[in-house]
Subunit: 492 residues, 2 copies
């Protein structure tokens, strides 16, 4: 490669290293930081953001890019340049004044949202949300040029995917999921989990689960935090989980979910370390990994059979008589308002309604003043019962408050992708269930590492799934899987 | 103030914020980081160092400084400018090539030293140490100009102090300490601590001790690490400690020592946050705080009386019959080779010999080839017995391997300063002992906060002590204190 490409990559590697530091400080903030340190941490993060912004808009980037793009021949270099070009253009298109204003307003709005949710009052949140949406529309317009506003927003999270792509998939999912949901609601539900589960024993088993799913503890660690998350790339990918004495599944499946995210980052080809290729390629593909670990593998009949034994060892008899009942308990579909607590079946209905509502907000077809009513009506139509209060409805998620428009649909896209990968994985590993029944996930995780994770940012998100599946992505496998699973459990 | 001063301070505040991040990552590395993350962390730290170095040598700094120095009128601004000027000149005087070479070689030599110590073999370490000393002499020459090499090195740790100042103090200490040490060695020693002390209970009591000495947990936290240290400034000052099931004093007094360092940082005037004044002013003054907390307060007859009760509550009867015996046990003087394990009396003898040896190395009067023999002879002369192996002698400390020349004497200077402060504190708080006997340190720590800690970098190190004492610093109070204490305990 050319001297310009080398200079560019040296510069970008340093920028990525600094960005990794920023991520590590966010982890610290959620897990270790003393609470009185917040103002100082704010100043530290702002200083680092200033350094990162200056580097990402450094005019030399444009020169190096132009000089390198002409001569790049190998796939890796071309992919690096594609990512760098995209990020450079994105940063350059948005005026610094607007970027700073969005940072300021969303940070403020996050506080307003938290208060509004605590006070169960949408009215106090609405004006702040209006401001955020206006600013994000302005940013979207700067990014979109003549194109579609919402599509431009999507590119931040799912490059190469358009609202039309998603609409086709989600449009096919919605009626089938609402029908299935309605049928399940009429049927006899499996037993709920009851009792008290020691939290120290939960953490012990959760670490065992993390290892069972291939999480590499020499390049990671597990801590408790208010919200489960995965943080970092490459050689240092940390996860958090949480415990509740009455709900050990929350701990275990949060862990398995975050392990899916973390293994993706840990298993990317080491040659891409601290480069744009050295990170998960999109939110959708990331979510496909967390979801397939959590659901298609972790909530399968085979794996829950093994987990049942582990839980009996850890907690003694907890009132569920056998593996088959336990499988039902793990996958029980319960009425509920909250997306993050939703089961596999209802989860996508949550996301689909947010996708439709946020597109309407961005296009101007829906005003913030009408948002609460629109939310409540759509919820009733899809779930079969009414939202009881705003904190359980339109105020439940932080996303819109902090300007994440175009982010929600990647959750369901991740589930669709997980469905595709699961279908291909089953074809490649005919004895997957006998492995999972022994708590053995290495066959499945090695397949995912080889077919998805190792590539990092080498291919476009949709192409990663298409290559692994051997066909274009489609919602069909997810739908077939959900129908078979819940028809079985509920005896429909 | 002028626009130039404001621009300078904005720039410096951002630099300090970035430097604080670097410190936080070092903490993470010693406490939380997964061990496989080391290479990635190395790249992250190098990128951040690059940013810091570019900022610290930014030519605008020189312009802003010159423009501001002419017009600075108030004390705070003048002190800020003094610190900024000193650091700017220092960074500018050392060629970037030399700074990078020192960083590279000392990092390498740290590994060589660790292996040599493990293998108990000075020969494998000697050539690496020679390289380090040659490079540090080159750096010293760049800094010293026509002045003394070693004095130039001292300025990095103790601005305003010269080798001649130290020689006067240490020269007066040495014969008195060796005499006292010899007399103690002949006398009947107090009982040693024996038994097993639960490590969880140690950590519980160590947190209580940290709070008892005024450590602010909303702006700090206590973790376990291989080496006890304090890290950070301002609103986020974290400490580490360690536990050994047979040696709870190691845990408790490491904690109190680090709390002394940490409280200094926590108690600096908040108006200096993220500026050069917002940090402890020198290593010597820092050590005066850790030492007075640990020794003059923590190992006093009065405080150990309270600690005796706390330890009985935590561990039951551990074989020491009463407070008076416990006071002897805490302050027992034992033969030993290792500086970091030394008691109050022998500790300074360790430092004094390193001070003399390192000056001889820097001046060229002593060659590295002769260092081991010189060490062993001096040790025998001052301690009364011979070093048994290099790991217990010349290889015990990492300092020289990583280029810390001029650092050792600040340990004893800190003890001398602690002696001065203790004398003044006793005069100001006549009923100090009755407070300490109740485990109440707030009178003493408030006096130290008001007279030393709050000032941060406002005054020169020696002036901080002179103002608090109301007289120039001297070794006399330390010596009088040690003589009285050990004469009493050993019935001399």
């Amino acid at each position: 490669m050319t001297a310009e490409y080398d200079a560019l990559m040296d510069f970008v590697r340093e920028t990525e290293a600094l960005a990794a530091i920023s991520g590590r400080l966010e982890w610290d903030q959620e897990t270790m930081m003393p609470r009185g340190a917040a103002p100082q941490r704010g100043a530290e993060m702002a200083a680092l953001e200033g350094v990162l912004h200056a580097r990402r808009t450094d005019p030399r980037m444009g020169d190096w890019l132009s000089a390198s793009e002409e001569s790049a021949t190998d796939d890796v270099a071309r992919a690096q340049l594609r990512h760098i070009r995209r990020s450079f253009e994105r940063t350059s298109k948005v005026p610094a004044r607007l970027a700073a204003e969005i940072a300021r307003v969303t940070s403020e709005t996050q506080g307003i949202w938290a208060d509004a949710r605590a006070g169960d009052d949408f009215e106090t949140f609405a004006p702040a949300l209006e401001k955020v949406i206006a600013l994000k529309r302005e940013e979207g317009a700067a990014l979109a040029g003549d194109g579609d506003l919402y599509d431009a927003m999507l590119q931040d999270y799912e490059p190469g995917t358009t609202a039309a792509d998603l609409e086709a998939m989600f449009g096919a999912l919605r009626p089938e999921l609402t029908d299935l949901r309605a049928a399940v609601r009429e049927a006899r539900a499996p037993a709920r989990l009851t009792g008290i589960f020691d939290e120290t024993a939960q953490m012990r088993l959760t670490r065992k689960l993390a290892k069972a799913f291939g999480y590499d503890m020499t390049h990671g660690r597990v801590d408790k935090a208010v919200h489960p998350f995965s943080s970092g790339s490459g050689l240092d990918v940390r996860i958090t989980t949480r415990t509740s004495e009455t709900d050990p599944f929350n701990c275990f499946y949060s862990t398995i979910h975050e392990v899916g995210h973390a293994c993706y980052e840990q298993n990317i080809s080491r040659g891409y370390l601290l480069t744009p290729l050295g990170q998960g390629v999109s939110m959708g593909v990331h979510e496909s990994q967390s979801r397939i670990y959590e659901n298609q593998l972790g909530r399968s009949r085979a794996f829950t059979g093994w987990l049942y034994g582990e839980m009996r060892d850890a907690f003694g008899d907890f009132g569920i008589p056998d593996e088959e009942s336990f499988y039902g308990t793990v996958n029980r579909v319960s009425d509920g308002y909250i997306r993050t607590e939703a089961d596999e079946l209802q989860y996508n209905l949550h996301v689909l309604m947010r996708f439709d509502l946020e597109r309407a907000l961005v296009s101007g077809d829906l005003s913030v003043a009408d948002l609460e009513a629109a939310w409540n009506d759509r919820f009733e139509a899809d779930f079969g019962y009414r939202v009881d209060r705003p904190a359980n409805g339109v105020l439940q998620d932080v996303h819109w408050a902090v300007g994440l428009l175009g982010y929600f649909p990647t959750y369901s896209l991740g589930n669709v992708y997980a469905g595709c990968l699961h279908e291909a994985l089953r074809a490649a590993l005919p004895d997957l269930d006998s492995q999972l029944a022994r708590g053995e996930t290495s066959g499945a995780t090695a397949w995912l590492a080889d077919n998805v994770q190792t590539h990092g940012g080498l291919f476009e998100p949709r192409d990663v799934i298409a290559r692994a599946r051997g066909a274009e992505p489609s919602e069909a496998p997810l739908l077939a899987y959900l129908k078979e699973k819940f028809t079985g459990i509920y005896g429909l």
